[in-house]
Amino acid sequence: MQASRRLGLVVAAFTACGIAGTAWSHHSNAMFDETKVVTLEGTVRDFQWTNPHTWIQLRVMENGQEVEYSVEGRSPNALARIGWKRNTLKPGENVKITMNPLKSGERSGNVITVVKADGTMISAREGQAR
């Protein structure tokens, strides 16, 4: 598999991501720690272009072992309106992802940005509907 690894935990005052009233998900985002931003680097196993949320299944090397993160995103409806498509992420592709991690510590989080192998950064948070 691809040599990829978790880059680490970046704690930031990411208040911009947590402004209530401009964004809405079909569930509240209380389960995510919006004061923390985690950067992951890995290989896309699957990109689920589904409602109520999209999911990026990312294979990541952690301490010499390959593990999988389930990274939640806004609905395809919301993402399509800011330019995403069902093939924006393809299986086998290497990407870097920033996300607000789950408070529970499980391997999951809420995606903020995706950086493609060629350096293109794609936002997953523009627009109004999460």
């Binding site: 009233g21 569930h27 389960m31 999911w55 999988e68 939640e72 399509a80």
Partner: protein, 272 residues
């Protein structure tokens, strides 16, 4: 051979003629399909209302998700009675702990009325002389307002439902609507502002201009609110090229609510 030749010739001519006719009849369609302009066919045009009583079209709420435009949650100062203020306080506390007791949509249940009028996903209105249908993209929900002069059903035939029974009449170019028969387990917004089953929703809906729809909504609910509570919502006509998309909340809901009422994540591991 000679005897067959004219017949063959005729058959060939006939075949050419048939083929040519077919070509002629096909040509306009094929040229049309191949023309670059035809590529735009799948893109929606912006609807032109036929009159100021025609609310048909795709509408987008840009006032945010708060019941009071621009003011979500307690900031909107809901005029709750003490009993309903206590329910709301509990919803807020639970939500902060990851338990969305005040938000049935977290379990993919319908947003209901009146919350359907304040979703951040677009809505589509289609109307005729009998009814006005309001279709919300979020979870593909339809609310119907009957404008043919019918009354509400008698109270004992009125089962509480997510969208209740809405009737409307015209006052000039303003549609005056009234909704009764609502369930008591929906809320006004995601933070869980409650209402009771006694809620009656009064609306005045009009086109401020051909691309701006207004809905002045007054909630009358003596159990839940200390006074009639009026807010005015504004919807903007979607631009050309904007279309509704499917949204089935149970398609792939990987955020189940557990027995403690907490939202979780269904993890997947394709490497196992």
């Amino acid at each position: 051979m000679n005897a067959r030749r004219p017949a063959l010739r005729f058959a060939m001519h006939a075949a050419v003629l048939v083929a040519a006719t077919a070509c002629v009849s096909l040509t306009p369609a094929r040229v049309h399909a191949a023309a670059p302009a035809a590529k735009a066919e799948y893109v929606a045009k912006q609807y032109e209302p036929r009159s100021m009583r025609d609310f048909t079209g795709l509408w987008v709420n840009k006032d945010g998700i708060g019941w009071v435009p621009g003011k979500i949650g307690p900031k909107g100062e809901p005029p709750l009675t003490p009993a309903y203020a206590a329910i709301y306080a509990q919803h807020l506390k639970n939500a902060s702990e990851g338990r969305p007791t005040g938000d049935p949509t977290a379990a993919c249940l319908p947003q209901g009325m009146p919350r359907i009028m304040t979703m951040v996903y677009p809505m589509e209105i289609m109307q005729n002389d009998i009814q006005l249908n309001i279709f919300a993209e979020w979870n593909e929900q339809t609310r119907r307002v009957f404008i043919d002069g019918r009354p509400h059903p008698p109270a004992d035939e009125l089962d509480p439902t997510y969208y209740g029974h809405s009737i409307g009449r015209w006052e000039g170019n303003v549609l005056v609507a009234e909704t009764v028969g609502l369930r008591d387990d929906t809320n006004l917004e995601a933070t869980g502002i409650p209402h009771s089953g006694d809620l009656v929703v009064h609306e005045r809906i009009w086109l401020a201009d051909k691309n701006t729809l207004k809905d002045e909504i007054t909630l009358v609910d003596a159990k839940a609110y200390t006074k009639p509570w009026t807010v005015t919502k504004t919807y903007h006509r979607a631009e050309a090229g904007f279309s509704l998309l499917p949204y089935v909340c149970l398609e792939n809901n990987r955020n189940p609510i557990n027995a403690n009422g907490e939202i979780g994540v269904i993890l997947e591991d394709g490497g196992r």
